[in-house]
């Protein structure tokens, strides 16, 4: 190397970026020189690219000047210079003007350039042309797509792919060529220098492009799969094809059995990336257990792979399965345990959290021991994930609380940041709330922890829980000492929290404790901080009058009920956003639903145990594709349902006729009484009052040129205990208009079900579709039969939460049991239907995990406040189909029987 070139690399040793202005000047002078120095130019372009890839950018004008000077290099024939020129053009094309002017030079290269830069020319072409010039490249591109050289073909396919957004219709004309390219097996021409392995990657590009051209057409997609499933050789192309198969199967589950043999083949392919892709598809589809197992076996194989990525990918899939169906992957537990010592921490964490999910109550203790040995070696972040897993586990296996509590306490005494300690404290709180046996031990450990805890926020929360739970324990004085220590030693925020906690202890029926608390509080009254003083004084005042107004104090210090916060928020905003006349009446707190402590805990518990399922649902939303709509839409559907219910209730409340009926006890969901495509669309909602039933019919007139007048619904109850009172009909229903008819009945005190036969009656008049003026005055009366509406037991039931289902189930007096066979394929369908029909709260078994047997627990209250608890057992056998046994218990005999009928 000459001294001249050495100089150039001087600055490279330091690795510093070349100066932007120098590079710019050098480029201009070198590229415009004549003759062009190929080597120098290439090195300069490399420096320019280094600047660009570092995030530097040039203003449009300078970029354009550069672009033009670079285009001068087309004069030079050196192919290695040309290659990097194309790279520079590609990078500058996005920031310069007038890039179209190089099109002709590029097209010349595409046509008969050297093989080394021809593919670059093709790919660059796609970057500089715009939608209007694409058609001019038509012949060039089609020739290139079917070119024998794989690089040329790939470049042309990828270029076409990039052109899709701007010229889809032009690219569509090349479909035949693309198809040919996908089937062709192209070899690198043997140049004699080095042997080149053929990757056949042009198949991947061709199939990707074919899919984009045809993806809207399901039948075409199936054709693509059938045509290529055997002929593709490139692993990426096969993986892509597997994704298309997944696409089809997700939209139509019934095709799984037809496509499974293909997936099975891919599962045992030599190439691991193909195995992986097939596994991903199989485990996410509703396949049979046998099919699922085939995928698990392959996963097991990948877990033992020497490659980190394979193990990572496999354990990641297992982790995802474990969130929903842990029992399906118990078979791989042994492999997972050996991964706990894997050098890659992500793999270890996945392995542990998966094991914690699949573990049963027998092996969980051993597992926790293994984990505690290893946990000191990993970072806080991973520890938090593991603690979260242990937390969920402790709720799942409350009987094993001791080992888990011990584990958490050990962790609590370890070094760690706030996030980490917070996770542990959270976990301990959950233990205290949901596993009562662990309470005393956990509280004692928290007491020790606060002796040297540096995080104010945590201290305050712990003090709060000590105040709430401490008085319930057998030895409350222990906690009082710990809490008072905080008053002596800590800052004012913690001191005020401690005051409140102390006060709660005084509410125990124990004179000596009461007295000592008062003494402690009196000492605090002289605190230097005003907030602490205030709280102490208020507390003292309360305690002095404790005997006279105990109920009031208790209500304040330890409220029995908590309000549903989201409902409270909603009600308050509607109150505030309403008209000013609203403010005449004060806000009525009674309308906000309240939960007793037990109910609240039960809701929380359910939220926590189901949290994991939600996480899996939410995760894909980051990836913004079709599937994300799914979980969201169900949520939205339930929300809109709830909203429209609220709206109907408001409308109902505004009708004077119903004022005397009192509050609505229950409102059913919307029942459709006609098909969506009929002339008149009718749906109905049932409102139950104390002595009345009001049927609300929403009627929509879909005819363009018919005006309906005097629209009403004639409802005939089957049972005689219901008597019709009045009908509120619609005077006039314009074309495409909507209206509501109310029919009111008196109802018997007892819960009684019946069926109403309904007929729509109206006078129809033809009218002008624009002016809506009736064309004739007479019109003719008509009737229209709509479907029956049944008043089911579910209409009298309100879903409700309960803390201890089994206990209440035993407690309830009357029971009725029934067995029946159901004609359906899936237990899940039946479960969903029962929940919808009965409007009871599913406490357990909302999601069907095991295909062959299932247990569903439901709870709710009737409008007369009688409790109903149901256990439904499902068994599915190939001989008899699905059989279910329902065990209904209730406070009221008749109710239990009615509910049982409701299930049938």
């Amino acid at each position: 190397m000459s001294t001249h070139t050495y100089k150039k690399f001087e600055d490279i040793d330091s690795g510093a970026l070349p100066d932007k202005m120098t590079v710019f000047q050098d480029c201009l002078s070198t590229f415009n020189a004549s003759p062009v120095d190929a080597k120098k130019s290439r090195v300069l372009i490399a420096r320019l690219l280094r600047l660009l890839y570092n995030g530097e950018t040039f203003p449009t004008q300078e970029a354009t000047t550069l672009f033009f000077s670079i285009s001068k290099l087309f004069q030079h024939r050196d192919s290695s210079l040309r290659q990097i020129v194309y790279l520079a053009i590609k990078e500058l094309a996005s920031i310069s003007d007038d890039v179209l002017m190089v099109t002709s030079s590029i097209m010349k290269d595409v046509q008969n350039g050297d093989i080394i830069y021809k593919p670059n020319a093709i790919r660059t072409l796609a970057r500089v042309i715009d939608g209007s010039t694409v058609h001019a490249t038509d012949r060039l591109m089609t020739n290139a797509i079917v070119d024998k050289h794989p690089s040329v073909s790939s470049a042309a396919l990828v270029a076409s792919y990039h052109l899709l957004p701007i010229a889809k219709d032009v690219v569509k004309r090349w479909t035949n060529e693309v198809q040919e390219a996908a089937l062709a097996i192209k070899n690198f021409p043997n140049t004699g220098e080095n042997y080149v392995n053929d990757s056949l990657i042009s198949q991947y590009h061709a199939i990707g492009l074919l899919y984009s051209l045809r993806n809207h057409d399901k039948i075409a997609l199936r054709k693509i799969i059938q045509q290529f499933s055997k002929s593709l050789r490139n692993p990426l192309a096969v993986c892509q094809l597997i994704r298309y198969v997944n696409e089809i199967l997700v939209s139509d589950n019934s095709l799984i059995s037809a496509f499974f043999p293909l997936l099975q083949d891919w599962l045992t392919d030599r190439n691991h990336s193909i195995n992986l892709e097939a596994i991903k598809v199989i485990v996410s589809l509703p396949v049979t257990n046998e099919q699922f197992n085939a995928a698990v076996v392959r996963l097991q194989f990948l877990l033992g792979s020497p490659k980190v990525v394979s193990r990572f990918a496999a354990v990641r899939i297992l982790n995802r399965i474990s969130l929903k169906n842990p029992e399906k992957i118990v078979a791989v537990n042994a492999e997972l345990e050996s991964l706990i010592s894997d050098p890659n921490r992500s793999i270890t964490t996945y392995a542990i959290t998966t094991l914690l999910k699949t573990g049963s109550s027998e092996n969980i203790e051993r597992l926790i021991k293994v984990v505690s040995k290893f946990i000191n070696e990993i970072s806080d972040e991973f520890k938090i994930i593991i603690i979260d897993a242990v937390k969920t586990l402790s709720l799942k296996f409350p009987t094993n609380y001791q080992s888990m509590l011990q584990f958490l306490v050990e962790m609590l005494n370890d070094e760690g940041g706030f996030e980490f300690k917070n996770a542990i404290v959270e976990a301990l709180f959950d233990l205290i709330h949901f596993v009562p046996e662990s309470r005393d031990l956990a509280l004692e450990n928290l007491c020790e922890f606060i002796e040297d805890c540096e995080y104010t926020e945590l201290l305050v929360r712990i003090l709060n829980i000590l105040g709430n739970e401490g008085p319930k324990t057998s030895n409350p004085t222990l906690y009082i000492r710990h809490i008072y220590n905080r008053v002596v030693l800590e800052n004012s925020i913690i001191r005020s929290a401690a005051v409140i906690a102390l006060t709660k202890f005084a509410l125990i029926d124990d004179a000596s404790i009461n007295k000592s608390i008062k003494i402690l509080l009196q000492r605090i009254v002289t605190d230097i901080d005003d907030e602490v003083r205030d709280r102490a004084i208020i507390s003292l005042k309360f305690l002095e009058n404790l005997d006279s107004n105990k109920a009031e104090v208790l209500e304040l210090a330890k409220p029995e009920y908590v309000y549903d916060l989201s409902a409270l928020e909603h009600k308050l905003t509607t109150y505030l956003s309403g008209e000013t006349s609203n403010f005449v009446t004060p806000f009525d707190i009674q309308i906000v639903p309240k939960y007793s402590e037990g109910e609240f805990r039960a809701i929380e518990l359910q939220a926590k145990t189901s949290k994991l399922e939600n996480v899996t649902k939410e995760k894909p939303t980051h990836n913004n594709h079709q599937n994300k709509a799914e979980p969201k839409s169900t949520l939205e559907a339930s929300q809109t349902n709830e909203l429209s219910k609220q709206q109907y209730l408001q409308e109902l409340a505004s009708i004077p006729e119903f004022e005397s009926y009192g509050p609505v006890l229950h409102t059913s969901s919307i029942v459709e009484l006609t098909e969506k495509e009929t002339e008149f669309i009718v749906d109905s909602i049932k409102h139950i009052f104390k002595e009345h039933v009001v049927l609300q019919f929403n009627i929509e007139n879909t005819l363009e040129d018919v005006l309906l007048e005097l629209v009403s619904v004639i409802s005939q109850p089957e049972s005689e205990s219901f008597a019709e009172e009045f009908i509120l009909s619609i005077d006039k229903l314009a074309p495409n208009g909507k209206g509501t008819v109310y029919v009111s009945f008196t109802r018997p005190d007892e819960v009684e079900t019946t069926t109403f036969t309904n007929t729509l009656s109206f006078t129809s008049k033809e009218c002008d579709s624009k002016t809506l003026e009736p064309l004739d005055d007479q019109g003719f009366e008509d009737e229209y039969q709509i479907e029956e509406l049944s008043l089911s037991p579910g209409d009298f039931l309100i879903p409700s939460m309960v803390g201890n289902f089994d206990h209440i189930f035993d407690e309830l007096a009357t029971e009725s049991i029934g067995t029946l066979a159901v004609d359906s394929d899936s237990i899940q369908d039946i479960v969903d239907q029962i929940i919808a029909n009965l409007s009871l709260h599913p406490l357990e078994g909302k999601l069907v995990i095991n295909d062959s047997s299932h247990l569903l627990k439901l709870f709710g209250k009737s409008i007369n406040n009688e409790r109903v608890a149901i256990i439904v057992k499902f068994v599915k056998s190939s001989k008899n189909g699905i059989t279910l046994k329902a065990h209904v218990k209730s406070d009221h005999e008749q109710l239990a029987e009615l509910v049982l009928e409701g299930i049938a």
Binding site: M1, F9, I12, D13, G15, K39, V43, I45, A46, R47, L49, R50, Y53, N54, G55, T57, D78, S80, L81, Q83, L87, I116, P119, N120, R123, P150, S151, A155, V158, H162, F188, T191, Y195, V196, D198, S199, I201, Y204, G208, P235, C239, Q240, R243, Y244, E247, H272, L276, V308, V309, S310, A313, R320, N344, R345, S346, K619, P620, H622, N623, N627
Partner: protein, 185 residues
């Protein structure tokens, strides 16, 4: 689980040095989180602290699948969406490493990469085209990456050190010198 049905599968390709600063960075995805150079660099520095000196090779970071290799004083990253196929992305990275090995004559480090920057960038361009995987076979990549052009003026490679060659060189020099002297006169 949502699958990526398009060919656009790579979000970004990075080469960072041992202090976490860029040697090469290209973002293909239009994601909001990589919109500006500032956002990109803050992502890189977080990623770097997470990965340096810990040879995990693969991890999930900020909802991205990251596959990387630490070689001497550089780290090469492939960043993609969570649902991509881990194994073929890893194969892609391996082929790139093999090609790099070839370019740098087996001594992959920061210095050799900067010295051969022209070839490195061409290789990456042949590897990934705007987020689409273009070639996975390292022998093909090798063939596609052209060498730095040799200057027409004599360079070390062309010098023939045999007796005849030396004699030729001597004659060439004599001719040149004579020419110069004549010009000077």
């Amino acid at each position: 689980m949502s699958k990526n049905l398009s060919l656009y599968s790579i979000d970004s390709f990075l080469i960072l040095d041992n202090e976490g600063s860029r040697l090469y960075a290209k973002y293909y995805s239009q994601d909001e989180e990589f919109k500006t150079v500032k956002l990109q660099k803050s992502f890189e520095s977080k990623l770097f602290t997470k990965t340096t000196k810990q040879n995990f090779e693969i991890l999930i970071f900020e909802n991205k699948l990251i596959i990387y290799k630490e070689i001497a004083d550089i780290i090469i990253y492939i960043i993609s969406g969570l649902e991509e196929n881990e194994i073929y992305l890893y194969d892609l990275l391996s082929s790139f490493k093999d090609t790099l090995n070839n370019i740098t004559n087996g001594g992959i480090d920061k210095k050799s990469i900067l010295e051969n920057y022209d070839k490195v960038v061409i290789t990456i361009d042949e590897l990934i085209d705007n987020g689409i995987i273009l070639e996975t076979e390292s022998s093909a990549l090798n063939q596609r990456t052209s060498n730095t052009p040799t200057n027409e003026t004599p360079s070390l490679k062309n010098i023939d050190l045999s007796e005849k060659g030396l004699f030729n060189a001597f004659n060439f020099a004599r001719g040149k010198i004579a020419e110069r002297l004549q010009q000077g006169l």
